[in-house]
């Protein structure tokens, strides 16, 4: 069984949000619900300034506080290490939302249950790439199997010395960033 992960190379990211919007259509989300959010950081003073845009979504942590804090088992780790939510078991307590340090979960206002990136779970089973990977304009996103040493994902993680966001939080995210 694969252990799915992703790499986002910020030196190839245009901050264009094509990933955000393509994800909404793929997952049939309403306009105001985003699984991929952006955080912008600015450093320095004019004229020595730099700007960075960081796309953030569910990190599919190996040590996921959302799963541990879910009282009903609605949040769970599925095949391939993908973190999913079983709506039928969800009581809408939002513990998972507050315990996610990456702010990756959003509320479905109609069902009052949380939602988030699912790595396009159903589609990757059929061999498709997640939608954000397919559409990424700069080709900044690489998806694959972390257990396969030959995978493009592992190659790039090693070559580019990619690291997760806030590894200090101890959640062991499976999305790796290059910056």
């Amino acid at each position: 069984m694969a252990r799915y992960g992703m790499l986002i190379d910020l030196t190839k990211c245009a901050g264009c949000m094509a990933c955000t919007v393509s994800c909404q259509f793929q997952n049939e989300l309403p306009p105001e619900v985003h699984f991929i959010k952006f955080y912008q950081q600015e450093y320095g003073t004019f004229p020595d300034v730099s700007l960075v845009n960081i796309p953030v979504q569910c990190q599919h942590c190996e040590n996921p506080p959302c799963v541990y804090n879910c009282p009903t088992g609605a949040s769970y780790i599925a095949e391939g290490g993908v973190v999913l939510i079983d709506e039928s078991k969800c009581i809408g307590c939002k513990y998972c939302m507050t315990s996610c340090p990456y702010n990756a979960r959003v509320l479905n206002e109609e069902t009052h249950t949380p939602m988030k990136c699912i790595f396009c779970f159903d589609h990757i089973q059929e061999g498709e790439q997640p939608m954000c990977v397919q559409t990424c304009l700069g080709g900044a996103r690489v998806f694959g199997d972390l257990d396969d040493p030959e995978s493009e994902l592992n190659k790039q993680i090693n070559e580019k010395k990619a690291r997760p966001l806030r590894p200090d939080l101890g959640t062991k995210p499976k999305i790796f960033y290059v910056w």
């Binding site: 910020l10 030196t11 190839k12 245009a14 901050g15 264009c16 949000m17 094509a18 955000t20 919007v21 393509s22 259509f25 793929q26 049939e28 989300l29 309403p30 306009p31 105001e32 619900v33 699984f35 959010k37 952006f38 955080y39 600015e42 003073t45 004019f46 004229p47 300034v49 730099s50 700007l51 960075v52 845009n53 953030v56 599925a78 095949e79 999913l84 939510i85 079983d86 709506e87 039928s88 969800c90 340090p101 990456y102 702010n103 959003v106 206002e109 069902t111 249950t113 949380p114 939602m115 699912i118 779970f121 159903d122 397919q134 559409t135 990424c136 304009l137 700069g138 080709g139 900044a140």
Partner: protein, 726 residues
């Protein structure tokens, strides 16, 4: 912890897909097992239709997935050179277009009291046809004009045929507010605007061109590849734009002075012998005069004007020179060389010439003139073709330009234009000083607007004709030139949402018949498309099956051909000379300059990754991004703002010589202190546009300028503003 950024506004919910198109949470909240079971039971009918986007002028190729008769998602076509398998946020968001609540659903006629009354197509065609005949009889055919979006081929082709049939040459596009400066500058210097071989370049300079926000998806992909191979990417821009993350250097420049920067690059390349002398010798015309002219444009001279240190100018020139011919300055689009300044056309010419100094034309990693695909036309024996009218265009005082839509308000005021048909364009809002334009357009005896939304221009029209959206129609075959020419076409992905809407080609045919020129329209769209495809040997069915087809005739690199009167790169322009203009792109300052000591700023604008025009601000998916990321705030240099007592998010009144606007400020170090910046598409004045409530439109603050004599461009950044906290 990361900050919460989601916010919700009920109006967005209300405008979103009223018919319940994309329902909440089909996937994402179920377990996979539950989902799979539900999906299996549903037995979705999924069809994939290759077509073309309409989000901007690129018209990327895309596969639209239609699930149970409704648009679901889209993926870029890999063989289309603009998309290269990718489509941008706008392209995705626009998939909701057919279902938007604000769509026009039936033909409308404006009544005496200014309201609109629904009428039948028969009545609309009959009355428009009669009025056109009457106006033509009274004033002659030259008072009729057509305005469309340049890339919208069906509107351009049918609109021109209709106008020619009526006897008028006056067809206009939006170019004069977009890329016309670059077009005119390059055309009269090197014979056309080349493409860029980004993936193979080693040193690239982007001056006021921002691939990450004025997006062509395929170019972004190439840029990322080049960067990975170690290419140097230099951004010359008064603000840090989103390309920054992919670039290697930002050169902040005083807005409006790009021409001085480029002239100084030419100076260094020549002075230090870094230019390709053999190329200049073989392909250049008038190089000696140019070299003499740029002698005075030293880096020190340019530092004074641009605020860029002389050492930086030298560094960039050497970077270009040492990496030639795999080095270029991007020709630009709407930015510094497009339509922004009184010196934009000269900036475009200077950039064309620096590229010639690098000898990069028709070379790998340089600038490449593509090959145009061969497309045919209807056989005139069977389908009578109208002749090109012999009478002069109303804008013939611009001999170097193709069309000067910016001159239309004055031409109406002069009485030179009486009737205008507008298709998928919004000329009242998209050019300088919309209030001035609005008053002019009100003087027309006939204004017909074909659109899918009630735009500012449609609100003034006598007749508003509702078109089907791009996902509900076939369009004319497009040929896209490039290293490998392609043919592509937009085709219908879903059934009509509103029965009383029509495709443009049906609308033009209806108007033509009613105006007594129906004999020029005795064919269907399919028949034109078949005729266009004939020389390629492809059938219409083949093209419909694939959407985009690459023709097997790539260009051969090496020897460039310059389509100028001398057949050479004109360092000394014979056509500019003939038009009474400076044959050499010497330094000319912009039209206006802010007096910083009086608290004045130049108001600059640009594209945003998730919007194109006022039209996209009707899209709930794109508008929510504006809201969540404060995309409509006015950028101001943090230290300047703090001196003025401003904080992030404060409201200010922005005042120009013609109008005021209200906006919240964004404090940042990433902008030149002499400029304030706003993204282009906001501040719609149209009553039913949700984007109406966002910021202001920079166009409303722009004076209606006396236009530049070469290209008639809008001079969209020649405006000084002051700010007041409110």
């Amino acid at each position: 912890m990361l900050q919460e950024k989601i916010s919700r506004r009920t109006f967005l919910k209300a405008t979103a897909l009223a018919a319940g198109a994309l329902s909440v949470g089909a996937v994402g909240t179920f377990s996979f097992e539950t989902w799979k079971k539900a999906e299996a039971e549903k037995k979705d009918d999924i069809r994939v239709i290759p077509t073309l986007c309409t989000g901007c002028g690129n018209f990327c190729g895309l596969n639209v997935y239609v699930k149970n008769g409704r648009v679901w998602r889209a993926v870029g076509l890999p063989q289309h050179p603009k998309s290269k398998g990718k489509i941008c946020a706008r392209g995705h968001g626009l998939l909701a277009t057919p279902y938007l609540r604000q769509r026009l659903t039936q033909p409308l006629k404006r009544t005496e009291d200014g309201n609109f009354q629904p009428i039948s197509w028969e009545q609309a065609f009959r009355e428009i046809g009669e009025k056109l005949q009457e106006i033509r009889k009274k004033y002659g055919p030259g008072v009729i004009a057509h305005i469309s979006y340049a890339g919208q081929k069906t509107a351009v082709w049918y609109g021109q045929r209709l106008l020619w049939a009526l006897g008028s040459p006056n067809t206009f596009t939006h170019a004069a507010s977009c890329y016309a400066g670059r077009g005119v500058g390059f055309e009269h210097t090197v014979g056309g605007t080349p493409g860029t071989d980004i993936a193979n370049a080693r040193y690239m300079v982007y001056i006021g061109r921002n691939l990450a926000e004025g997006i062509t998806p395929g170019d972004v992909l190439e840029l990322a590849k080049a960067r990975e191979k170690g290419a140097q990417i230099v951004l010359v821009d008064p603000r840090v734009n989103n390309m920054y993350q992919m670039a290697t250097k930002w050169v902040p420049i005083r807005p409006g002075t790009d021409l001085a920067f480029v002239l100084a690059l030419a100076h260094v390349l020549i002075k230090e012998g870094l230019y390709d002398a053999a190329f200049v010798q073989e392909y250049g015309y008038g190089f000696e005069q140019f070299a003499q002219a740029v002698e005075k444009y030293t880096p020190q001279w340019a530092e004074e004007i641009t605020g860029v240190p002389a050492a930086t100018i030298q560094e960039v020139a050497r970077g270009l020179g040492k990496n030639k011919p795999r080095a270029f300055i991007h020709p630009g689009w709407h930015g510094a060389t497009g339509t922004q300044y009184a010196n934009s056309v000269d900036a475009a010419r200077a950039i064309a010439l620096v590229n010639a100094l690098l000898g990069n034309y028709q070379k790998e990693g340089g600038l490449i003139f593509g090959k145009t695909p061969p497309l045919g036309n209807l056989n005139p024996a069977k389908y009578p073709a109208p002749e090109k009218p012999a009478i002069p265009r109303v804008d013939s005082e611009w001999p170097l330009a193709h069309d000067v839509v910016t001159a239309v308000p004055d031409k109406i005021r002069d009485g030179a234009l009486k009737a205008i048909i507008v298709n998928r364009s919004n000329p009242v809002m998209h050019y300088n000083n919309p209030l001035y334009a609005r008053e002019a357009y009100k003087l027309l005896e006939l204004l017909v607007v074909v659109d899918i939304f009630m735009s500012e221009t449609a609100e003034l029209a006598h007749y508003v004709l509702p078109e089907v959206s791009y996902l509900e129609r076939d369009d004319l075959v497009e040929g896209v030139g490039g290293k490998k020419p392609i043919v592509a076409m937009r085709q219908q992905a879903i059934g009509k949402i509103h029965p009383e809407t029509k495709a443009s080609w049906e609308i033009y045919t209806g108007i033509a018949e009613a105006a007594g020129v129906g004999k020029y329209f005795n064919f269907t769209l399919d028949e034109v498309n078949q005729a266009m495809l004939a020389p390629t040997g492809l059938s219409l069915n083949e093209l419909k099956a694939k959407g985009t087809i690459v023709l097997n005739s790539p260009i051969v690199l090496g020897t460039p051909k310059f389509n100028t009167p001398t057949g050479k790169v004109e360092f000394y322009s014979t056509e500019f000379k003939a038009a009474g203009l400076d044959p050499i792109p010497n330094w000319k300052p912009p039209l206006v300059m802010p007096d910083v000591s009086k608290g004045e700023f130049r108001l600059i604008n640009g594209r945003q990754a998730y919007h194109s025009h006022t039209n996209t601000t009707r899209n709930p998916y794109l508008l929510v991004l504006t809201e969540d990321y404060h995309g409509d705030r006015l950028w101001i240099n943090r230290r300047v703002a703090e001196r003025m007592g401003l904080k992030e998010g404060d409201w200010v009144e922005v005042r120009s010589e013609v109008a005021t606007g209200r906006v919240q400020v964004h404090l940042t170090e990433a902008i030149h202190p002499e400029a304030v910046f706003i993204y282009a598409p906001y501040g719609s004045l149209a009553k039913n546009n949700p984007g109406r409530n966002f910021a202001f439109s920079f166009m409303t603050l722009l004076p209606y300028h006396k236009l530049d004599p070469a290209a008639g461009i809008a001079l969209t950044q020649e405006v000084i503003v002051t700010l007041r906290k409110i």
